[in-house]
Protein backbone atom coordinates (compact mmCIF):
# COMPACT_ATOMS: atom_id res chain seq x y z
CA UNK A 1 0.00 0.00 0.00
CA UNK A 2 1.56 3.27 -1.04
CA UNK A 3 2.41 5.55 1.84
CA UNK A 4 2.00 9.27 1.89
CA UNK A 5 5.37 10.92 1.39
CA UNK A 6 7.15 12.63 4.21
CA UNK A 7 7.11 16.39 3.84
CA UNK A 8 3.52 16.30 2.58
CA UNK A 9 1.17 19.10 3.47
CA UNK A 10 -2.40 19.84 2.44
CA UNK A 11 -3.69 23.39 2.62
CA UNK A 12 -6.39 25.54 1.07
CA UNK A 13 -5.79 26.66 -2.49
CA UNK A 14 -4.78 30.29 -2.94
CA UNK A 15 -4.26 32.64 -5.86
CA UNK A 16 -0.51 32.04 -5.90
CA UNK A 17 -1.05 28.39 -6.80
CA UNK A 18 -2.16 29.30 -10.31
CA UNK A 19 1.24 28.70 -11.85
CA UNK A 20 1.59 25.27 -10.26
CA UNK A 21 -1.96 24.21 -11.15
CA UNK A 22 -1.52 25.33 -14.75
CA UNK A 23 1.72 23.39 -14.91
CA UNK A 24 0.20 20.18 -13.49
CA UNK A 25 -2.68 20.43 -15.94
CA UNK A 26 -0.21 20.99 -18.77
CA UNK A 27 1.72 17.88 -17.80
CA UNK A 28 -1.49 15.85 -17.73
CA UNK A 29 -3.27 17.22 -20.81
CA UNK A 30 -0.44 18.66 -22.86
CA UNK A 31 -2.34 21.94 -23.02
CA UNK A 32 -1.22 25.25 -21.55
CA UNK A 33 -4.49 26.82 -20.30
CA UNK A 34 -3.75 29.65 -17.87
CA UNK A 35 -6.98 31.51 -18.67
CA UNK A 36 -9.07 28.45 -17.81
CA UNK A 37 -7.42 28.17 -14.41
CA UNK A 38 -7.57 31.90 -13.73
CA UNK A 39 -11.34 31.64 -14.23
CA UNK A 40 -11.70 28.53 -12.08
CA UNK A 41 -9.45 29.68 -9.25
CA UNK A 42 -11.17 33.06 -9.14
CA UNK A 43 -14.52 31.27 -9.02
CA UNK A 44 -13.62 28.91 -6.18
CA UNK A 45 -11.83 31.54 -4.14
CA UNK A 46 -14.79 33.83 -4.13
CA UNK A 47 -17.28 31.08 -3.27
CA UNK A 48 -15.44 29.19 -0.55
CA UNK A 49 -11.69 29.64 -0.31
CA UNK A 50 -11.37 26.96 2.37
CA UNK A 51 -12.89 24.19 0.24
CA UNK A 52 -10.45 23.70 -2.63
CA UNK A 53 -7.12 22.19 -1.64
CA UNK A 54 -3.60 21.75 -2.86
CA UNK A 55 -1.04 19.21 -1.69
CA UNK A 56 2.62 20.12 -1.34
CA UNK A 57 5.59 17.82 -1.19
CA UNK A 58 8.66 19.50 0.25
CA UNK A 59 7.10 22.88 -0.37
CA UNK A 60 6.17 22.28 -4.02
CA UNK A 61 2.52 22.05 -5.10
CA UNK A 62 2.06 18.67 -6.80
CA UNK A 63 -1.70 18.24 -6.72
CA UNK A 64 -4.97 20.09 -6.44
CA UNK A 65 -8.65 19.39 -5.93
CA UNK A 66 -11.37 21.99 -6.45
CA UNK A 67 -14.94 21.92 -5.33
CA UNK A 68 -17.70 23.72 -3.53
CA UNK A 69 -21.06 23.26 -1.87
CA UNK A 70 -24.10 23.75 -4.03
CA UNK A 71 -27.79 23.34 -3.60
CA UNK A 72 -30.97 23.99 -5.52
CA UNK A 73 -29.79 22.60 -8.85
CA UNK A 74 -31.78 19.92 -10.69
CA UNK A 75 -34.08 19.38 -7.74
CA UNK A 76 -31.18 18.72 -5.37
CA UNK A 77 -32.30 21.01 -2.57
CA UNK A 78 -30.06 19.50 0.06
CA UNK A 79 -26.54 20.94 -0.12
CA UNK A 80 -24.03 18.66 -1.82
CA UNK A 81 -20.27 18.83 -1.90
CA UNK A 82 -19.29 18.93 -5.55
CA UNK A 83 -15.82 17.85 -6.57
CA UNK A 84 -15.13 19.34 -9.93
CA UNK A 85 -11.48 19.51 -10.95
CA UNK A 86 -8.44 17.74 -9.70
CA UNK A 87 -5.03 16.64 -10.81
CA UNK A 88 -1.80 15.14 -9.50
CA UNK A 89 1.54 15.76 -11.11
CA UNK A 90 2.40 12.53 -12.98
CA UNK A 91 5.78 12.39 -11.19
CA UNK A 92 3.98 12.15 -7.84
CA UNK A 93 1.30 9.59 -8.57
CA UNK A 94 0.89 6.31 -6.76
CA UNK A 95 1.58 7.90 -3.43
CA UNK A 96 -1.96 8.36 -2.14
CA UNK A 97 -1.82 12.13 -2.65
CA UNK A 98 -5.19 12.05 -4.40
CA UNK A 99 -6.69 10.39 -1.35
CA UNK A 100 -5.08 12.93 0.93
CA UNK A 101 -6.72 15.72 -1.08
CA UNK A 102 -10.03 13.89 -1.20
CA UNK A 103 -10.04 13.33 2.56
CA UNK A 104 -9.29 17.01 3.18
CA UNK A 105 -12.00 18.36 0.90
CA UNK A 106 -14.50 15.82 2.27
CA UNK A 107 -13.71 16.87 5.83
CA UNK A 108 -14.33 20.48 4.88
CA UNK A 109 -17.67 19.66 3.29
CA UNK A 110 -18.65 17.60 6.34
CA UNK A 111 -17.83 20.58 8.60
CA UNK A 112 -20.41 22.53 6.65
CA UNK A 113 -23.09 19.95 7.30
CA UNK A 114 -22.93 18.33 3.88
CA UNK A 115 -23.86 14.65 3.78
CA UNK A 116 -23.43 13.83 0.09
CA UNK A 117 -20.58 14.25 -2.36
CA UNK A 118 -21.26 14.52 -6.06
CA UNK A 119 -19.26 14.72 -9.23
CA UNK A 120 -19.49 14.04 -12.94
CA UNK A 121 -17.05 11.77 -14.70
CA UNK A 122 -16.35 10.64 -18.20
CA UNK A 123 -16.39 6.87 -17.76
CA UNK A 124 -14.03 6.56 -20.71
CA UNK A 125 -11.34 8.21 -18.58
CA UNK A 126 -10.33 5.07 -16.73
CA UNK A 127 -7.84 6.84 -14.51
CA UNK A 128 -10.25 9.42 -13.14
CA UNK A 129 -13.17 7.01 -12.99
CA UNK A 130 -11.02 4.46 -11.21
CA UNK A 131 -9.82 6.98 -8.66
CA UNK A 132 -13.34 8.19 -7.90
CA UNK A 133 -14.56 4.61 -7.59
CA UNK A 134 -11.73 3.85 -5.19
CA UNK A 135 -12.76 6.82 -3.09
CA UNK A 136 -16.25 5.39 -2.78
CA UNK A 137 -18.25 7.11 -5.52
CA UNK A 138 -20.98 4.97 -7.06
CA UNK A 139 -23.37 5.51 -9.93
CA UNK A 140 -26.28 7.76 -9.07
CA UNK A 141 -29.89 7.59 -10.15
CA UNK A 142 -29.29 11.14 -11.38
CA UNK A 143 -27.76 10.76 -14.79
CA UNK A 144 -26.00 13.26 -17.02
CA UNK A 145 -27.75 13.51 -20.37
CA UNK A 146 -26.71 15.41 -23.45
CA UNK A 147 -27.84 16.06 -26.97
CA UNK A 148 -26.76 18.36 -29.76
CA UNK A 149 -29.06 21.26 -30.58
CA UNK A 150 -30.77 20.48 -33.91
CA UNK A 151 -29.72 22.75 -36.75
CA UNK A 152 -33.34 23.94 -37.03
CA UNK A 153 -34.83 23.71 -33.52
CA UNK A 154 -38.25 25.09 -34.51
CA UNK A 155 -38.74 22.22 -37.01
CA UNK A 156 -39.14 19.80 -34.07
CA UNK A 157 -42.16 21.63 -32.60
Amino acid sequence: MPEVQAGTRVRPLDELDLGAITRIDERITGQYRPETWEDRVGYYLRRDPDASKVVEVDGKVVGFMMGDVRDGEFGLEEPSGWIERFGIDPDHRGRDLGKVLFDAITAHFASQGVRTLRTLVNMNDKGVAGFLGAMGFKSSSLQALEMPIPSNPSAKA
Binding site: D14, E15, L16, L18, G19, P34, G42, R46
Partner: protein
Protein backbone atom coordinates in the same frame (compact mmCIF):
# COMPACT_ATOMS: atom_id res chain seq x y z
CA UNK B 1 -18.49 25.95 10.13
CA UNK B 2 -21.33 28.04 11.48
CA UNK B 3 -21.51 31.78 11.26
CA UNK B 4 -23.80 34.04 13.24
CA UNK B 5 -24.84 37.25 11.49
CA UNK B 6 -25.51 40.42 13.44
CA UNK B 7 -26.98 43.74 12.40
CA UNK B 8 -25.92 46.91 14.16
CA UNK B 9 -28.43 49.06 16.01
CA UNK B 10 -30.45 50.95 13.41
CA UNK B 11 -28.78 54.32 13.82
CA UNK B 12 -25.34 52.80 13.25
CA UNK B 13 -26.47 50.61 10.39
CA UNK B 14 -28.06 53.68 8.82
CA UNK B 15 -24.86 55.67 9.36
CA UNK B 16 -22.85 53.07 7.45
CA UNK B 17 -25.47 52.99 4.68
CA UNK B 18 -25.35 56.79 4.54
CA UNK B 19 -21.55 56.73 4.31
CA UNK B 20 -21.84 54.09 1.62
CA UNK B 21 -24.12 56.28 -0.49
CA UNK B 22 -21.41 58.94 -0.54
CA UNK B 23 -18.35 56.75 -0.89
CA UNK B 24 -19.43 53.60 -2.69
CA UNK B 25 -21.75 55.06 -5.25
CA UNK B 26 -21.80 52.01 -7.51
CA UNK B 27 -23.08 49.79 -4.71
CA UNK B 28 -26.56 49.49 -6.22
CA UNK B 29 -25.00 48.77 -9.61
CA UNK B 30 -22.97 45.98 -8.01
CA UNK B 31 -26.04 44.40 -6.46
CA UNK B 32 -27.98 44.73 -9.72
CA UNK B 33 -25.21 42.93 -11.62
CA UNK B 34 -24.24 40.49 -8.87
CA UNK B 35 -25.76 37.46 -10.56
CA UNK B 36 -24.10 38.35 -13.87
CA UNK B 37 -20.57 38.55 -12.48
CA UNK B 38 -20.88 36.23 -9.49
CA UNK B 39 -23.52 33.68 -10.51
CA UNK B 40 -24.87 31.53 -7.71
CA UNK B 41 -22.60 33.18 -5.12
CA UNK B 42 -24.11 34.00 -1.77
CA UNK B 43 -25.71 37.44 -1.99
CA UNK B 44 -23.83 40.27 -0.34
CA UNK B 45 -24.83 40.96 3.25
CA UNK B 46 -23.99 44.19 5.08
CA UNK B 47 -23.75 42.63 8.51
CA UNK B 48 -21.26 41.47 11.09
CA UNK B 49 -20.39 37.78 10.91
CA UNK B 50 -19.11 35.86 13.93
CA UNK B 51 -17.60 32.41 13.47
CA UNK B 52 -19.01 29.88 15.91
CA UNK B 53 -17.03 27.11 17.56
CA UNK B 54 -13.61 28.78 17.63
CA UNK B 55 -11.12 27.80 20.37
CA UNK B 56 -12.00 29.33 23.72
CA UNK B 57 -8.55 29.26 25.28
CA UNK B 58 -5.75 31.73 24.68
CA UNK B 59 -3.19 30.18 22.34
CA UNK B 60 -0.13 32.40 22.79
CA UNK B 61 1.46 34.89 25.14
CA UNK B 62 1.39 35.53 28.87
CA UNK B 63 -2.15 34.17 29.23
CA UNK B 64 -1.73 31.02 27.13
CA UNK B 65 -4.07 28.30 28.33
CA UNK B 66 -6.48 30.68 30.07
CA UNK B 67 -10.03 31.27 28.91
CA UNK B 68 -10.34 33.87 26.18
CA UNK B 69 -11.67 37.25 27.22
CA UNK B 70 -15.23 38.16 26.27
CA UNK B 71 -15.34 41.76 27.46
CA UNK B 72 -12.83 44.63 27.56
CA UNK B 73 -13.10 44.63 31.36
CA UNK B 74 -11.55 41.18 31.39
CA UNK B 75 -8.39 42.58 29.78
CA UNK B 76 -5.85 44.66 31.66
CA UNK B 77 -6.04 48.39 30.99
CA UNK B 78 -2.89 48.21 28.88
CA UNK B 79 -4.20 45.25 26.86
CA UNK B 80 -7.57 46.89 26.30
CA UNK B 81 -5.98 50.17 25.23
CA UNK B 82 -3.74 48.33 22.79
CA UNK B 83 -6.58 46.24 21.37
CA UNK B 84 -8.87 49.23 20.99
CA UNK B 85 -6.18 50.93 18.91
CA UNK B 86 -5.91 47.82 16.72
CA UNK B 87 -9.68 47.68 16.16
CA UNK B 88 -9.93 51.38 15.33
CA UNK B 89 -6.96 51.16 12.96
CA UNK B 90 -8.50 48.12 11.28
CA UNK B 91 -11.81 49.96 10.86
CA UNK B 92 -10.01 52.96 9.40
CA UNK B 93 -8.25 50.78 6.80
CA UNK B 94 -11.52 49.25 5.65
CA UNK B 95 -13.30 52.54 5.03
CA UNK B 96 -10.11 54.15 3.78
CA UNK B 97 -9.53 51.57 1.07
CA UNK B 98 -13.06 52.10 -0.27
CA UNK B 99 -12.34 55.81 -0.64
CA UNK B 100 -9.11 55.02 -2.48
CA UNK B 101 -10.71 52.52 -4.88
CA UNK B 102 -13.60 54.87 -5.62
CA UNK B 103 -11.29 57.48 -7.12
CA UNK B 104 -10.19 55.38 -10.10
CA UNK B 105 -12.59 52.47 -10.42
CA UNK B 106 -14.31 53.98 -13.43
CA UNK B 107 -11.03 53.81 -15.35
CA UNK B 108 -11.02 50.00 -15.47
CA UNK B 109 -10.61 48.84 -19.04
CA UNK B 110 -12.38 45.55 -18.42
CA UNK B 111 -15.86 45.38 -16.92
CA UNK B 112 -15.08 42.15 -15.08
CA UNK B 113 -12.07 43.76 -13.39
CA UNK B 114 -14.27 46.69 -12.36
CA UNK B 115 -16.94 44.44 -10.82
CA UNK B 116 -14.34 42.37 -9.01
CA UNK B 117 -13.03 45.57 -7.41
CA UNK B 118 -16.58 46.71 -6.62
CA UNK B 119 -17.12 43.46 -4.78
CA UNK B 120 -13.85 44.02 -2.92
CA UNK B 121 -15.12 47.45 -1.91
CA UNK B 122 -18.45 46.09 -0.68
CA UNK B 123 -16.68 43.44 1.39
CA UNK B 124 -14.33 46.05 2.86
CA UNK B 125 -17.47 47.93 3.87
CA UNK B 126 -18.64 44.81 5.64
CA UNK B 127 -15.26 44.52 7.36
CA UNK B 128 -15.57 48.09 8.61
CA UNK B 129 -19.08 47.26 9.80
CA UNK B 130 -17.60 44.23 11.60
CA UNK B 131 -15.15 46.44 13.47
CA UNK B 132 -18.00 48.77 14.43
CA UNK B 133 -19.76 45.77 15.95
CA UNK B 134 -16.68 45.16 18.11
CA UNK B 135 -16.59 48.83 19.15
CA UNK B 136 -20.29 49.10 19.89
CA UNK B 137 -21.18 45.74 21.39
CA UNK B 138 -19.06 46.31 24.51
CA UNK B 139 -18.11 49.22 26.73
CA UNK B 140 -14.62 50.51 25.94
CA UNK B 141 -15.02 53.77 27.81
CA UNK B 142 -12.41 52.95 30.46
CA UNK B 143 -9.70 52.93 27.81
CA UNK B 144 -11.09 55.17 25.10
CA UNK B 145 -10.31 58.44 26.86
CA UNK B 146 -14.00 58.93 27.52
CA UNK B 147 -14.94 58.49 23.87
CA UNK B 148 -18.23 56.68 23.52
CA UNK B 149 -18.84 54.04 20.85
CA UNK B 150 -20.95 56.50 18.90
CA UNK B 151 -18.11 59.00 18.86
CA UNK B 152 -15.61 56.40 17.70
CA UNK B 153 -17.93 55.47 14.82
CA UNK B 154 -18.38 59.15 13.95
CA UNK B 155 -14.62 59.67 14.06
CA UNK B 156 -13.90 56.81 11.70
CA UNK B 157 -16.66 57.66 9.24
CA UNK B 158 -15.37 61.22 9.15
CA UNK B 159 -11.91 60.19 8.02
CA UNK B 160 -10.91 60.85 4.45
CA UNK B 161 -7.89 59.96 2.37
CA UNK B 162 -5.15 61.79 4.24
CA UNK B 163 -6.49 61.36 7.74
CA UNK B 164 -6.61 57.60 8.13
CA UNK B 165 -4.53 55.80 10.70
CA UNK B 166 -2.12 53.94 8.40
CA UNK B 167 -0.09 55.60 5.64
CA UNK B 168 -1.01 53.09 2.94
CA UNK B 169 -4.62 54.30 3.16
CA UNK B 170 -3.75 57.96 2.79
CA UNK B 171 -2.44 57.79 -0.75
CA UNK B 172 -4.77 58.25 -3.67
CA UNK B 173 -4.68 55.93 -6.63
CA UNK B 174 -3.16 57.24 -9.84
CA UNK B 175 -4.91 54.81 -12.19
CA UNK B 176 -6.77 51.51 -12.17
CA UNK B 177 -3.39 49.83 -12.05
CA UNK B 178 -3.28 51.00 -8.43
CA UNK B 179 -6.70 49.45 -7.70
CA UNK B 180 -5.31 46.08 -8.74
CA UNK B 181 -1.76 46.32 -7.34
CA UNK B 182 -3.16 47.57 -4.04
CA UNK B 183 -5.36 44.47 -3.84
CA UNK B 184 -2.39 42.24 -4.63
CA UNK B 185 0.05 43.90 -2.22
CA UNK B 186 -1.78 45.77 0.53
CA UNK B 187 -4.73 43.42 0.94
CA UNK B 188 -2.07 40.73 1.28
CA UNK B 189 -0.78 42.49 4.39
CA UNK B 190 -4.39 42.56 5.58
CA UNK B 191 -4.47 38.80 5.16
CA UNK B 192 -1.41 38.51 7.39
CA UNK B 193 -2.90 40.74 10.07
CA UNK B 194 -6.22 38.89 10.03
CA UNK B 195 -4.44 35.53 10.15
CA UNK B 196 -2.29 36.61 13.10
CA UNK B 197 -5.38 37.92 14.86
CA UNK B 198 -7.22 34.61 14.61
CA UNK B 199 -5.63 33.66 17.92
CA UNK B 200 -6.69 36.90 19.60
CA UNK B 201 -7.21 36.51 23.32
CA UNK B 202 -10.29 38.74 23.02
CA UNK B 203 -12.75 36.26 21.62
CA UNK B 204 -15.08 38.59 19.68
CA UNK B 205 -12.05 39.79 17.68
CA UNK B 206 -10.90 36.22 17.06
CA UNK B 207 -14.39 35.19 15.98
CA UNK B 208 -14.51 38.07 13.51
CA UNK B 209 -11.42 36.92 11.65
CA UNK B 210 -12.43 33.71 9.76
CA UNK B 211 -15.29 35.29 7.76
CA UNK B 212 -13.07 38.30 6.98
CA UNK B 213 -10.25 35.99 5.88
CA UNK B 214 -12.52 34.07 3.54
CA UNK B 215 -13.52 37.31 1.86
CA UNK B 216 -9.93 38.54 1.78
CA UNK B 217 -8.92 35.45 -0.23
CA UNK B 218 -10.95 36.76 -3.15
CA UNK B 219 -9.48 40.26 -2.72
CA UNK B 220 -5.99 38.88 -3.30
CA UNK B 221 -7.22 37.03 -6.37
CA UNK B 222 -8.82 40.29 -7.58
CA UNK B 223 -5.29 41.69 -7.59
CA UNK B 224 -3.16 38.81 -8.82
CA UNK B 225 -5.40 37.49 -11.60
CA UNK B 226 -5.72 40.85 -13.43
CA UNK B 227 -1.96 41.38 -13.01
CA UNK B 228 -1.35 38.01 -14.70
CA UNK B 229 -3.70 38.94 -17.54
CA UNK B 230 -1.98 42.29 -17.99
CA UNK B 231 1.40 40.56 -18.09
CA UNK B 232 0.15 38.27 -20.84
CA UNK B 233 -1.12 41.21 -22.88
CA UNK B 234 2.05 43.20 -22.30
CA UNK B 235 4.08 40.24 -23.56
CA UNK B 236 2.08 40.36 -26.79
CA UNK B 237 2.76 44.07 -27.25
CA UNK B 238 -0.32 45.59 -25.65
CA UNK B 239 0.37 49.32 -25.19
CA UNK B 240 -2.29 50.11 -22.60
CA UNK B 241 -0.88 48.53 -19.47
CA UNK B 242 2.83 47.84 -19.64
CA UNK B 243 5.13 45.92 -17.33
CA UNK B 244 6.85 49.23 -16.63
CA UNK B 245 3.59 50.78 -15.42
CA UNK B 246 2.90 47.76 -13.22
CA UNK B 247 6.43 47.93 -11.81
CA UNK B 248 6.04 51.58 -10.86
CA UNK B 249 2.80 50.81 -9.05
CA UNK B 250 4.54 47.94 -7.21
CA UNK B 251 7.33 50.36 -6.26
CA UNK B 252 4.77 52.80 -4.89
CA UNK B 253 2.81 50.33 -2.74
CA UNK B 254 5.38 47.78 -1.58
CA UNK B 255 7.16 50.16 0.86
CA UNK B 256 3.85 51.31 2.35
CA UNK B 257 2.73 47.68 2.64
CA UNK B 258 5.90 46.75 4.54
CA UNK B 259 5.28 49.63 6.94
CA UNK B 260 1.83 48.24 7.77
CA UNK B 261 3.58 45.50 9.76
CA UNK B 262 4.91 48.13 12.14
CA UNK B 263 8.54 48.64 13.04
CA UNK B 264 10.58 45.55 12.21
CA UNK B 265 11.87 45.50 15.78
CA UNK B 266 8.41 45.54 17.37
CA UNK B 267 5.40 43.34 17.94
CA UNK B 268 6.34 41.86 21.32
CA UNK B 269 3.35 43.35 23.08
CA UNK B 270 0.90 41.80 20.63
CA UNK B 271 2.50 38.44 21.28
CA UNK B 272 2.60 38.72 25.06
CA UNK B 273 -0.97 40.03 25.20
CA UNK B 274 -2.06 37.08 23.07
CA UNK B 275 -3.47 39.30 20.31
CA UNK B 276 -1.25 37.99 17.50
CA UNK B 277 0.97 34.96 17.06
CA UNK B 278 3.98 36.54 15.34
CA UNK B 279 6.22 39.54 15.83
CA UNK B 280 6.53 42.17 13.16
CA UNK B 281 9.78 41.12 11.49
CA UNK B 282 8.78 37.47 11.21
CA UNK B 283 5.45 38.37 9.64
CA UNK B 284 7.11 40.86 7.31
CA UNK B 285 9.72 38.27 6.21
CA UNK B 286 7.00 35.79 5.31
CA UNK B 287 5.11 38.48 3.44
CA UNK B 288 8.18 39.39 1.41
CA UNK B 289 8.70 35.74 0.44
CA UNK B 290 5.09 35.54 -0.63
CA UNK B 291 5.30 38.70 -2.75
CA UNK B 292 8.46 37.31 -4.36
CA UNK B 293 6.49 34.19 -5.32
CA UNK B 294 3.72 36.34 -6.76
CA UNK B 295 6.16 38.35 -8.85
CA UNK B 296 7.84 35.22 -10.18
CA UNK B 297 4.42 33.85 -11.15
CA UNK B 298 3.57 37.06 -13.04
CA UNK B 299 6.95 37.03 -14.82
CA UNK B 300 6.41 33.42 -15.86
CA UNK B 301 3.01 34.40 -17.24
CA UNK B 302 4.75 37.09 -19.26
CA UNK B 303 7.47 34.80 -20.58
CA UNK B 304 5.12 32.00 -21.53
CA UNK B 305 3.00 34.47 -23.46
CA UNK B 306 6.08 35.92 -25.16
CA UNK B 307 7.51 32.48 -26.01
CA UNK B 308 4.42 30.29 -26.56
CA UNK B 309 6.38 27.52 -28.21
CA UNK B 310 8.77 27.08 -25.31
CA UNK B 311 8.13 24.51 -22.59
CA UNK B 312 7.63 25.67 -19.04
CA UNK B 313 11.03 24.32 -17.97
CA UNK B 314 12.76 26.42 -20.63
CA UNK B 315 10.87 29.56 -19.58
CA UNK B 316 11.84 28.95 -15.97
CA UNK B 317 15.47 28.72 -16.99
CA UNK B 318 15.16 31.90 -19.05
CA UNK B 319 13.67 33.67 -16.04
CA UNK B 320 16.41 32.45 -13.72
CA UNK B 321 19.10 33.42 -16.25
CA UNK B 322 17.64 36.90 -16.75
CA UNK B 323 17.47 37.51 -13.00
CA UNK B 324 21.05 36.32 -12.50
CA UNK B 325 22.66 37.92 -15.53
CA UNK B 326 20.41 40.99 -15.85
CA UNK B 327 20.90 40.45 -19.54
CA UNK B 328 18.67 39.72 -22.49
CA UNK B 329 16.97 36.75 -24.07
CA UNK B 330 15.54 37.00 -27.58
CA UNK B 331 14.49 40.59 -27.13
CA UNK B 332 13.31 40.34 -23.52
CA UNK B 333 15.48 42.33 -21.15
CA UNK B 334 15.79 41.90 -17.41
CA UNK B 335 14.19 45.37 -17.12
CA UNK B 336 11.09 44.16 -18.98
CA UNK B 337 10.14 41.95 -16.05
CA UNK B 338 8.68 42.86 -12.64
CA UNK B 339 11.11 42.96 -9.73
CA UNK B 340 10.66 43.00 -5.99
CA UNK B 341 12.13 46.25 -4.64
CA UNK B 342 14.67 46.10 -1.84
CA UNK B 343 12.80 46.07 1.49
CA UNK B 344 14.55 49.32 2.43
CA UNK B 345 13.45 51.15 -0.73
CA UNK B 346 11.53 54.42 -0.23
CA UNK B 347 10.87 53.75 3.44
CA UNK B 348 9.87 56.46 5.88
CA UNK B 349 8.91 54.32 8.85
CA UNK B 350 10.46 51.35 10.60
CA UNK B 351 14.05 50.26 10.81
CA UNK B 352 15.24 51.66 7.42
CA UNK B 353 13.24 54.90 7.69
CA UNK B 354 14.57 57.81 5.63
CA UNK B 355 17.45 55.90 4.07
CA UNK B 356 17.95 56.60 0.39
CA UNK B 357 18.19 53.07 -0.97
CA UNK B 358 17.20 52.12 -4.49
CA UNK B 359 15.04 49.23 -5.65
CA UNK B 360 18.22 47.24 -6.19
CA UNK B 361 19.70 48.02 -2.78
CA UNK B 362 22.16 50.69 -3.96
CA UNK B 363 22.55 53.65 -1.53
CA UNK B 364 22.34 57.29 -2.55
CA UNK B 365 24.10 60.15 -0.79
CA UNK B 366 22.84 63.14 -2.73
CA UNK B 367 19.19 64.08 -2.20
CA UNK B 368 18.68 65.53 -5.67
CA UNK B 369 20.15 62.41 -7.30
CA UNK B 370 17.84 60.36 -5.09
CA UNK B 371 14.72 62.32 -6.02
CA UNK B 372 15.62 62.06 -9.69
CA UNK B 373 16.04 58.32 -9.19
CA UNK B 374 12.60 58.13 -7.60
CA UNK B 375 11.07 60.02 -10.51
CA UNK B 376 12.18 57.16 -12.79
CA UNK B 377 10.83 54.43 -10.55
CA UNK B 378 7.50 55.78 -9.28
CA UNK B 379 4.34 56.60 -11.25
CA UNK B 380 4.51 60.05 -12.80
CA UNK B 381 1.17 61.25 -11.32
CA UNK B 382 2.35 60.17 -7.88
CA UNK B 383 5.55 62.20 -8.27
CA UNK B 384 3.29 65.27 -8.71
CA UNK B 385 1.37 64.58 -5.50
CA UNK B 386 1.41 66.44 -2.20
CA UNK B 387 2.63 63.29 -0.51
CA UNK B 388 5.82 63.30 -2.58
CA UNK B 389 6.36 67.01 -1.98
CA UNK B 390 6.03 66.48 1.76
CA UNK B 391 8.30 63.45 1.56
CA UNK B 392 11.02 65.50 -0.16
CA UNK B 393 10.71 68.38 2.31
CA UNK B 394 10.88 66.04 5.29
CA UNK B 395 13.78 64.08 3.80
CA UNK B 396 15.82 67.27 3.36
CA UNK B 397 15.29 68.11 7.03
CA UNK B 398 16.25 64.62 8.18
CA UNK B 399 19.40 64.61 6.03
CA UNK B 400 20.39 68.10 7.18
CA UNK B 401 19.93 67.11 10.82
CA UNK B 402 17.13 69.58 11.45
CA UNK B 403 14.91 66.55 12.11
CA UNK B 404 15.87 63.29 13.71
CA UNK B 405 14.73 60.12 12.00
CA UNK B 406 12.01 59.87 14.64
CA UNK B 407 10.84 63.41 13.88
CA UNK B 408 10.64 62.49 10.21
CA UNK B 409 8.61 59.38 11.00
CA UNK B 410 6.12 61.41 12.99
CA UNK B 411 5.74 63.93 10.20
CA UNK B 412 4.54 61.44 7.55
CA UNK B 413 1.98 61.79 6.24
CA UNK B 414 0.16 64.80 7.44
CA UNK B 415 -2.36 65.35 4.72
CA UNK B 416 -5.32 66.01 6.98
CA UNK B 417 -8.15 67.80 5.28
CA UNK B 418 -10.44 70.19 6.99
CA UNK B 419 -13.96 69.00 7.66
CA UNK B 420 -14.93 65.37 7.74
CA UNK B 421 -18.62 65.61 8.26
CA UNK B 422 -21.20 64.26 5.89
CA UNK B 423 -20.98 66.29 2.70
CA UNK B 424 -24.73 66.40 2.17
CA UNK B 425 -26.48 69.44 3.47
CA UNK B 426 -29.01 67.55 5.54
CA UNK B 427 -26.74 66.27 8.22
CA UNK B 428 -23.79 67.39 10.27
CA UNK B 429 -23.05 63.92 11.59
CA UNK B 430 -22.99 60.43 10.13
CA UNK B 431 -24.78 58.93 13.14
CA UNK B 432 -28.18 60.50 13.63
CA UNK B 433 -30.88 59.61 16.12
CA UNK B 434 -33.71 60.92 13.99
CA UNK B 435 -33.67 59.10 10.68
CA UNK B 436 -36.26 61.55 9.29
CA UNK B 437 -33.39 63.84 8.31
CA UNK B 438 -32.02 61.14 6.00
CA UNK B 439 -35.28 60.09 4.41
CA UNK B 440 -35.20 60.53 0.71
CA UNK B 441 -31.46 61.18 0.67
Amino acid sequence: MKVETITLEKKYHDAVEHWRRHNLQDYDLLLKNWEKYFPKDEPFCLCAKMECGTPDTVAVGDHAGEKKRLKPDELTEEEATHLLAIIRAQASTEFGSIQQHAGTIERAQDEEDKYWVLRVMAEELRHGYQMFHLLLSQDWSKVSGGMKGEDMVEDILSMQTGSHVLDAFNLEYDSFIDNVCFAALVDRVGKYQLTMQRVCAYRPMADSMPPMLREEAFHLAAGVIPMRRWAKRAARGDVFITMEAIQKSVNKWFPRALEMFGDERGGSKNLSFGFKDMKNREAQDQYIDEVARMIRDINMRFLRARFPDDAVEKCEKVLDDLVTSRGKHQGVRFEDLIHLPDRRFFRRKGEPAWQMIGVDGVSYENIEDWLRYLSKHLPEPYMASRDMKMYAETLRKVVSGEYTVEDGIRKMPKLKRVGGNCPCSRSVRWVVEDTATTNGH
